[in-house]
Symmetry: C2
Subunit: 215 residues, 2 copies
């Protein structure tokens, strides 16, 4: 059964795509155009009532929320492709902790930056300079903690690449590229080495090659 992934152009679905590639799971994609309102179509809302991407359909099993989907496939195919959950329950605990840090501490301010720095000028709505300044400060503080953490282990959850690292790629890519804030990475030695490592994984390069960002 081929896994069907909705919305491959966008940031959060790219977590899922990278995970499926790391796990050697066959998939196909269904384009969703958020600026045209595809997410509000009744057929889409039957799959994802909140009108958000990604969603996956795997036979008659439907799942949404990118970090739920990557946990599901990483567990279901634990011994296939790259192991993304650690070897022990204690290692998985660390993966869960840093996945939550990504979602709660990192993603929220960086999402605001993406909206106000990248999308506002393109879509013609006013950006909020105060929010941009505050969000950049928040991201910087998180990266300072990563810098310290990555002085002790190669990856966030330990000396193994995991979902916690993978989950950072789509929005850090925005920061380094579309947002032109690569200095936030390069000014921190360990974060910089970590970024070079994870962003050069063949799975991520394949995601970027196959599924362009909308901007």
């Amino acid at each position: 059964m081929v896994v069907k992934v909705y919305g491959p152009a966008y940031g959060c679905p790219k977590r899922v795509l990278m995970c499926l590639i790391e796990k050697d799971i066959e998939f196909e994609t269904v384009p969703i155009n958020l600026s045209k309102g595809d997410q509000n179509h009744p057929d889409f809302l039957k799959l994802q009532p909140f009108g958000e991407v990604p969603v996956v359909q795997d036979g008659d099993y439907t799942l949404y929320e990118s970090r739920a989907i990557i946990r599901y496939y990483a567990e279901k195919y634990k011994s296939q492709g790259t192991d993304l959950l650690g070897q022990t329950i204690e290692e998985r605990g660390q993966v869960e902790q840093w996945l939550e840090v990504e979602a709660n501490n990192f993603h929220r301010p960086i999402y605001d930056l993406v909206i106000h720095v990248v999308y506002a000028p393109i879509q013609g709505f006013p950006s909020d300079p105060k929010l941009i300044e505050e969000s950049e400060k928040k991201v910087g503080k998180v990266l300072d903690i990563y810098e310290e953490r990555l002085s002790k282990s190669k990856y966030l959850a330990g000396d193994f690449f995991s979902l916690a690292d993978l989950s950072h790629l789509p929005f850090t890519h925005y920061m380094v590229n579309q947002m032109r804030k690569e200095y936030m990475i390069r000014s921190r030695k360990n974060v910089s080495a970590w970024w070079d490592d994870i962003s050069n994984r063949p799975s991520w390069k394949k995601v970027l090659q196959l599924y362009k960002y909308p901007v």
Copy 2:
């Protein structure tokens, strides 16, 4: 080894306490006073560099982020106490999905409501009426989706109580009690029955009895 839980008075640590009680895991608590700045003490920052509660110490294993901690204990003691992850990988996928919905769709606006409706008058900072109105609308929209979901299954992830339901308790309690917005629950038949069910679990009653909220 007794698990040590930091910050039992607050909302997020109450997820952990309820989980430990459901799993019959022995624990002790360490009070943290956020309004006195305990979370910024260097000893605390060594445990939790972001200065947030909860943290658990379990022998020499330290873990933070409430939803990571509850996943860790639910998995580590899968067959002890209440099973909170579902019986199959597919059921666990649904648990993960609704845990993510709780964190991303429900918690964010309800947290803003708690800050602006409950804490602003007490701590003497100005509340934002526009944010309150928008947040209440967002919570209402999420509850509408829950109402539909709970017409099809007894709990969010299926016909079994799970981490996804548990994770809603601490902040829905704020809404029903300190915030006096019980009507948001009672105006929705299925949500109302679900709330009565989960908030009457002995584990939650024990949490409330032992660890008062700070306000």
